[in-house]
């Protein structure tokens, strides 16, 4: 009777391309497509303050995605255990950074907190759902996304 052993996550590391980076770059691209719509909606109900606040909120969300992806991609090359620690502490660190970024501009004359808050939620969720549709389709039907042969 053979026994199956699970590799140690502390020493296992993942080589090769990082799918998080391509997912977050894809989200960045979709964010650029969605930006004019979000900015226009915020401009309608909050004027020029809404424009600046929505741009700031979108930048926060997109930088947050890129930071999260970079952290996972960098630490996964070292060890899975380190990746887990980095994701957990990275979550706290990124929340802290967003908090700091909003606290720094809360009294600025161009800020509309309502537009900023709504932009953060709508952009984050909207871009994720948009990206998830694409990811779900390519995972379910990999044949629809042909890859170039190696040679």
């Amino acid at each position: 009777m053979s026994t199956m052993t699970t590799p140690d996550p502390m020493t296992t590391r993942l080589e090769g391309e990082a799918p998080e980076i391509s997912v977050s770059l894809d989200i960045l691209k979709r964010g650029a497509y969605a930006a004019p719509v979000i900015v226009a909606v915020c401009a309608v109900f909050a004027g020029l303050d809404g424009v600046f606040s929505s741009l700031y909120g979108m930048a926060l969300v997109l930088v947050n995605f890129l930071l999260a992806a970079g952290l996972v991609a960098f630490t996964a090359r070292i060890s899975l255990g380190l990746m887990m620690g980095a994701v957990l502490f990275g979550y706290l660190a990124r929340l802290g950074l967003i908090f700091l970024a909003v606290i720094l501009v809360r009294d600025a004359p161009w800020i509309s907190l309502t537009a900023l808050g709504l932009t953060i939620i709508v952009t984050h969720l909207g871009l994720l759902v948009w990206e998830m549709r694409y990811v779900a389709a390519s995972l379910a039907f990999p044949g629809l996304k042909p890859r170039r042969p190696a040679n």
Partner: protein, 87 residues
């Protein structure tokens, strides 16, 4: 004691603003706990899956990343409530 005395000395509007700020901070803290537990569970299971089946790591990492981002949205909603009520 000094903090309690300072709170007691607040007028109506100041007391209202102070309690709103305190409640918003409390709500933000509570809203960050759930996603923290969720992300820990999600990443733990993903690491287990990747260690068992490294050939499926790409698929697991993609879904893990999206799962982290969706879970984090809950904390962001708590944060937005905080900035709308407390700031």
């Amino acid at each position: 004691m000094e903090a309690l005395a300072a709170l007691a000395a607040l007028t109506g509007d100041e007391a209202k603003a102070a309690s709103a700020a305190g409640s918003a901070g409390f709500a933000y803290g509570l809203a960050a706990i759930g996603p923290g537990i969720g992300i820990g569970y999600l990443v733990g299971k993903s690491v287990e899956a990747m260690a068992r089946q490294p050939e499926a790591a790409g698929m697991v990492r993609t879904t893990m990343f999206l799962g982290i981002a969706f879970t984090e949205a809950l904390a962001l909603i708590g944060f937005v409530v905080f900035i709308l009520i407390g700031l």
